[in-house]
Symmetry: C2
Subunit: 301 residues, 2 copies
């Protein structure tokens, strides 16, 4: 459904899909990321209002990070039902805590009545060099920061599909951190980037399509933590599937010329390479196409 | 309820309430207005998707106009239920039509699943001089562009509280126009401004409180069109009450030094004056305090 709507929007508004909107002003780019989250569809009921506030800021800041922008200002539009008023104070404290963490200033807030909590975060940043998803070059290494899979496992737990989970897995989902410093460094070094908000398989396809290239990813290079491997074993899940479909990771997927890899002074994994052609391929025992929704959500192997 | 939430937000984020957020960049101000509308609470069911799109853009552009900013860029976040997908194309055409009318460029769109249509409009503008609601001066004339009351009458009709209405009344509600040119002119001349989105009585109180002044408004100076007077007579309504409580008018309420009134080359009405003190008073046969919600919505006299 989302794809269908985006295609209508692209036809009517004629724009390139990026992580955020941007325009040049003087010698810099003003980058504006807006990200809407609604209670029924984005927040497991176990999530506390404070955690919702933090996550909403991180989601929009992560879009700025993927564009190589420094986050500076924040606004929100909030829709709320009368029954949810008790949420507001803690929700705003969560937003406040995140703004302090990212060093952002508050611009303005808009409040409305709606059928259920809907929070649209608007993060504004400034970039000297823009990092686009449409600029991956043939020969680039494909890399990703941090680790993947913890958010997916956490969601299974919070939706009560599994009974137990390690704190170290859950913490990344409850209080995710956008890769702001990495994004700023990548702006001067990498060729392209996108943030992992909807799952690696989907982001890889967006990157390949936008850049008009083929991407090969090696199964055994995907960074998965020991706790996630154990969680998958216990719950009969395929850890590669989990890592590929895990959204809300807020890691940066990026491509960089191989001769510049040594300029990157933060932790990341090289998971694949860019070549001529189109599509995304996953290379394990065999090589197979990796589609945007490669597996059904919440399928077990 | 809204007031309560705004007060929590002001305590946590420590900001001044203005029509939009803004920050200085180089020698200009970047002004960002976000305005969320949800289907159950903001759109009578008779409103067409295209009209919703137009209105959403106008609502955020009107906030820029009230700050003296020129609207330039637009983004949206859209939440939608599966049942509302057929809306999307026309909704976006309405947005597109408004962007063309205001001469704005499209930045980006974010799409989400939600329980019902929620549209957050983000309009970005640039101002050389900022027009604030906190800067009304003692001695200023209090003025308003256009006419008031048509939106309220239209709402009564669209909500099926009355059976008949003249097209000339309805057209302002179905396709409102933000006062962009007036706002740009006022930025160099007026002392303060606010847009009439929630009703004149509420905006007058916001202006007086933000500026720390008293405002007197003369009942017989409030601009009400002949059609509205007739509509009120037919439906046993008090036209002054209607004009004071009519939201979504998108007129500009502003204060200006009396010796600069002749510099204003567009149509407006002088409805009152700013003096020392606090509060808002309505002067008719007698002088009485005008509270933010002076009358119950949809009350008849």
């Amino acid at each position: 459904m989302e794809r269908e709507i985006i295609d209508i929007a692209k036809r009517i508004f004629k724009f390139e899909e990026e992580d955020a909107g941007f325009f040049k002003f003087g010698d810099a780019y003003i980058v504006i990321a807006n990200d809407m989250l609604s209670r029924s569809f984005d927040f497991p009921s176990k999530l506390l209002p404070k955690q919702i506030g933090w996550k909403a800021v991180t989601a929009s800041v992560s879009d700025l990070a993927a564009m190589g922008a420094k986050p500076i200002y924040f606004s929100y539009s909030l829709g709320l039902s009368r029954e949810e008023i008790s949420f507001v104070e803690d929700l705003m404290k969560g937003i406040r805590e995140a703004l302090d963490f990212y060093g952002m200033k508050f611009l303005s807030g808009d409040t409305n009545e709606s059928t259920e909590l809907v929070l649209d975060s608007v993060a504004v940043g400034i970039a000297r060099n823009l990092l686009l998803r449409s600029n991956a070059k043939v020969g680039d290494a494909v890399c990703v920061t941090g680790d993947l899979g913890r958010a997916y496992c956490s969601l299974l737990y919070l939706l009560e599909k599994v009974e137990e989970i390690e704190e170290k897995i859950l913490e990344k989902f409850l209080k995710p951190v956008a890769r702001v410093d990495e994004g700023l460094k990548l702006a001067n070094i990498a060729n392209s980037a996108i943030d992992v908000s909807d799952g690696l398989s989907k982001e890889l396809n967006l990157l390949a399509n936008s850049s008009g290239v083929m991407i090969k990813v090696f199964e055994d290079r995907i960074p998965i933590r020991e706790e996630v491997l154990e969680f998958c074993t216990s719950n009969n899940l395929n850890p590669i599937e989990v890592a590929l479909n895990s959204g809300e990771e807020y890691e940066l997927l990026f491509t960089v010329s191989k001769d510049k890899l040594e300029d990157l002074d933060f932790e990341f994994s090289i998971i694949g390479e860019v070549s001529k052609g189109e599509g995304v391929f996953l290379v394990g025992k065999e090589k197979k196409p990796l589609l945007p929704a490669g597996w059904e959500h919440f399928s077990s192997k």
